[in-house]
């Protein structure tokens, strides 16, 4: 196994921070935890809140963004796939920022600019993005096609798609135009914070995992499992698209 510069620098203080983040990430969303029937839309009282709030609601929208990301299994699988084989925190920051630039752009563009895309098709491409990143993690393109497509570019493009996915979930709730810009920026900041919280937990787990002897074998299996989940999500959303009559 190659040397692992980043894991060596992990000390107990950083770990404690990460564990605190874990507590926040899980204690926060749990009371209102709920999955929508299709994908993970917002439901119940969260949906009621968005539908009925007028004017800027900074903290509530921030919280909803964080909760949506922290409980959004498709976004999480993609983020975990992205950092799976990144061994330096600097690189983690670059890749995750690339993803964030992508999804922030289309989240704001979609909701503020009133750009509507089909939620099922967007979620199907998000499922595909999960399978893509896992396949890429196994060196799939290089081995099979002989060329390595630029991973950062792929992450940026898929980030744009994930942002449309976030936008459709907000648009379904028909938020008020009054204070929308402030609310969407709050929501977006919440999304990034939620992503950071989950990411820190995932990194702690993965750093520990890398130290184990069986990691290299299990990593292949884990990425195969992520790929399978991506395909299942994609087919789920495509089925939703056809059942709903392409609406």
């Amino acid at each position: 196994m190659a040397s692992i510069p980043w894991t060596a620098t992990v000390d107990f203080r950083r770990m404690a921070y990460c564990l605190a983040a874990l507590a926040v990430a899980f204690a926060g969303p749990l009371p209102g935890f709920g999955f929508d029937a299709l994908a993970h839309g917002m439901a119940g009282k969260d949906a009621d809140f968005v539908a009925h709030s007028v004017g800027p609601q900074i903290l509530p929208f921030f919280y909803l963004g964080a909760k949506h990301m922290a409980t959004g299994y498709d976004h999480l699988l993609f983020v975990i796939g992205t950092v799976f084989f990144l061994y330096q925190l600097r690189h983690v920051a670059i890749y995750v920022t690339t993803f964030s630039i992508g999804h922030s752009t289309t989240l704001l563009l979609g909701v503020l600019g009133g750009v509507h895309v089909n939620p099922f098709l967007v979620d199907a491409v998000i499922g595909l993005s999960v399978a893509y990143i896992a396949f890429d993690n196994l060196g799939g393109f290089k081995t099979l096609l002989g060329v390595q497509p630029n991973t950062k570019l792929a992450i940026l493009i898929f980030g744009l798609v994930h942002g449309f996915g976030l936008a459709t979930k907000v648009q379904e709730l028909n938020p008020s135009r009054d204070g929308l810009a402030a609310n969407m920026i709050s929501f977006n900041v919440g999304v990034e914070i939620g992503q950071l919280l989950v990411l820190s937990v995932a990194l702690v787990a993965i750093v520990w995992w890398r130290k184990t002897a069986a990691f290299s074998k299990q990593a292949v299996f884990a990425n195969a499992a992520i790929m399978a989940a991506g395909f299942a999500l994609m087919e789920y959303q495509l089925a939703g698209y056809f059942v709903s009559g392409g609406a």
Binding site: F135, N137, L138, G139, T151, A224, M227, A228, A239, V243
Partner: protein, 212 residues
């Protein structure tokens, strides 16, 4: 480009096997679990076998039934439920018409169906008047008549919730030059009018009940 991602290197055949297995696993999850549980589609029968398909049932919304009054959703009767079959033949002469009605109290319900045989070529030659009448009490008081339907035709079916106490039923008239026979079935909560009494002056008897 620096190697930022330390991805494992797999040989070609292993990679293809892994990707194929991932696709098949994902698809199996989709076909076996997601389709029956989320969409109520069950191509393999696995959903029915395991009860997964019951998860995709429609959302149940409970609404209140209209409790009482003329639009009551449900009605309950202490009296016996009955079914009668009546066959009436009307010859093409001066006895070509008669009335057959049953006794009902307000809110009593019956369902009925009848058809006419004998001159199927001329449905317009069979006339009926479906209506209800209250018995004038005391003698000499005004009787109430409510018309339900006056028409020609060889069959009819429906339901009646009696609007008032009285006799409710049909006036049948054969305008054809052939004998015609009415086959009438009634079910519900009502009483027969004894032959010869008001509402059944013609003395029609229902067919004897089938045994068994």
């Amino acid at each position: 480009m620096t190697e930022e991602r330390k991805t494992p290197s797999l040989n070609r055949s292993r990679l293809i096997a892994i990707a194929a297995a991932a696709f098949l696993t994902g698809s199996a999850i989709f076909v076996l679990f997601v389709l029956p549980a989320e969409f109520h589609r069950d191509p393999t029968g696995f959903g029915r076998l395991t009860g997964l398909d019951r998860l995709a049932g429609p959302e149940v919304v409970t609404v209140a039934a209209a409790p009482a009054g003329p639009n009551a959703t449900t009605r309950f009767y202490a009296t016996a439920f009955r079914t009668d079959t009546i066959v009436i033949t009307l010859p093409p002469d001066e006895k070509n018409e008669l009335e057959y009605k049953v006794k009902m109290r307000p809110g009593d319900t019956l369902t009925y169906s009848w058809n006419v045989t004998g001159d199927e070529a001329h449905p317009e030659w069979f006339y009926y008047d479906f209506h209800g009448e209250s018995r004038p009490v005391p003698e000499g008081a005004k009787a109430t008549v409510m018309e339900y339907r006056q028409a020609t035709g060889l069959n009819s079916g429906g339901a009646l919730v009696a609007p008032f106490e009285g006799v409710h039923g049909w006036y049948f008239q054969n305008q054809s030059d052939k004998p015609q026979t009415v086959h009438l079935k009634i079910s519900g909560f009502y009483e027969l009018v004894p032959p010869g009494e008001y509402g059944n002056e013609a003395g029609v008897q229902p067919l004897p009940k089938e045994q068994g």
